[in-house]
Symmetry: C2
Subunit: 286 residues, 2 copies
């Protein structure tokens, strides 16, 4: 499964780690990088993550066997449109974004005849971004969701599936729309809530933040995540998020009503229900 | 600052760690424990946390120089009423609860002439409860808020302040009402939100929990906390929490409105504001 040339579009935490994982396994002859920030590309080259770079995206993509979209989700479509006329026949395009859903069908529809798109989502991001945190084993033991459609080329799917497995991922195939329902609930909604919780403290009295203990720190850690990246994700997945927010708001309202009534027993019931479900994903407190 | 006899009412994580911290420093001749669960008291005695125990609370408290209320907050007043006729003149009563506010004034008013109450809140709890997790250094480097009132006996205040310092705490004196405003915001509100977030997933599809990544786990870790303990805390601090929930709900509603409009730039602004404030309490991701 050797690749001649790979193009990484967006050399951040995920893009750079992808490059390092390829390098470590000797899976690519040459890795080209594209990004907005030339300094960052220089650093990536100096660290041996990429072999060459250009700020001309068509140059980087046109000779690649595999193109990896690793920018913030919001520019995938624009980039796909820009590069599609120049893509090599037989090449594969993947993205590593946190939203799938309609975006997968849109990207798929942009690909020219003979170019195969596969949507992938390695769950390996964090509140830390940038190549400083990139490492070849970032994907080891991480979950990676692949979201084939009925049009996905079986050979390309199989190739990409093996590649992520080779990187150490636990790969799972999920329908693109289902993916966004699930990750809207367990990832995108928590991000929105964390950002809103921090802003609430800011509006009450930002000085209170100095009393924050481990509970607050853990609960809001993901509010450290890149605002640009997460803006794109929540906007793309907004249909699911609007439904989820409605359910969440009802839970908050219910709790508020019970507090107003000082309904101790019912509050305890709600907390117990949450505790029981939360136990299913383990106690990973520090 | 040697104590003859100390009574620990409620031998859980905090109560037992308090006992161990006293023992380690040889600060008490004898420690008596009281609790609802005799098995737990037996374990505490076997581990050398307490020297003796009884399920008769007046027996445990009547000869003590220091009584430590370490049960869930909801039963402090009831216990204080029960033991107050039997307390020794010159003894000190402290609590270690997460709410202060009116509760401090109430407990203070229950004390008989010559018995001195001091409200304290060591920020050393966690989602783990029970003596299994108790350790003598639980309070080391923890913050401990002491909430004197104008009626607090200065000598008792000074004694208790030195005791917590001796346990390794960073002690800070704060007005009882202010304490509840601050901890309502940075601790009690996050707990409510974490419980509500987990219940939201439960209502959407509890099977989604298996896709939970580190972000979800961190954000909801505190939903593992004791429902009984946290029910008491949020009910006691409900006036502050109702105000805080209102501000939080406005933030969620604003975000929902921006999502409906797909106002990318404004969403990014809100996320950036949160990220900046969150940075002030450090990145403690694992």
């Amino acid at each position: 499964m050797k690749l001649n040339r790979v193009a990484i579009i967006g050399v951040g935490l995920i893009g750079a780690s992808f490059g390092l994982a390829l390098k470590e396994r000797g899976l690519a002859d040459e890795i080209y990088g594209f990004g907005r920030n030339e300094d960052n590309l220089k650093k990536a080259k100096a660290r041996g993550i990429i072999d060459a770079y250009s700020t001309d995206i068509t140059k980087v993509s046109s000779s690649a066997d595999l193109v990896v979209l690793a920018t913030p989700v919001g520019v995938f479509v624009e980039i796909a449109r820009e590069i599609s006329p120049f893509l090599k026949k037989g090449s594969i395009v993947i993205d590593v974004g946190s939203v799938k859903g309609r975006l997968v069908y849109e990207l798929e529809s942009i690909m020219p005849e003979g170019v195969h798109y596969v949507g992938t989502h390695p769950i390996a991001g964090s509140d830390k971004s940038g190549i400083e945190y990139a490492r070849p084993d970032l994907f080891k033991d991480a979950r990676c969701i692949i979201t084939p459609t009925e049009k996905t080329d079986p050979e390309s799917l199989s190739f990409i599936l093996e590649l992520w497995k080779d990187f150490g991922c636990n790969v799972e195939l999920i329908d693109p729309m289902k993916h966004d329902e699930i990750y809207g609930a367990v990832s995108h909604l928590p991000h929105i809530i964390a950002y809103c919780l921090v802003n609430t403290i800011g509006q009450i009295d930002s000085e209170y933040i100095r009393y924050a203990g481990q509970g607050f720190k853990d609960t809001t850690r993901i509010a450290l995540s890149s605002p640009e990246l997460w803006r794109d994700i929540v906007v793309y997945n907004r249909d699911n998020l609007l439904k989820l927010l409605e359910v969440f708001e009802k839970n908050i309202e219910e709790l508020r009503r019970l507090l107003e009534e000082a309904s101790s027993e019912k509050i305890k019931e709600l907390f117990t229900k949450a505790q029981e479900l939360r136990r299913r994903c383990g106690n990973l407190s520090s």
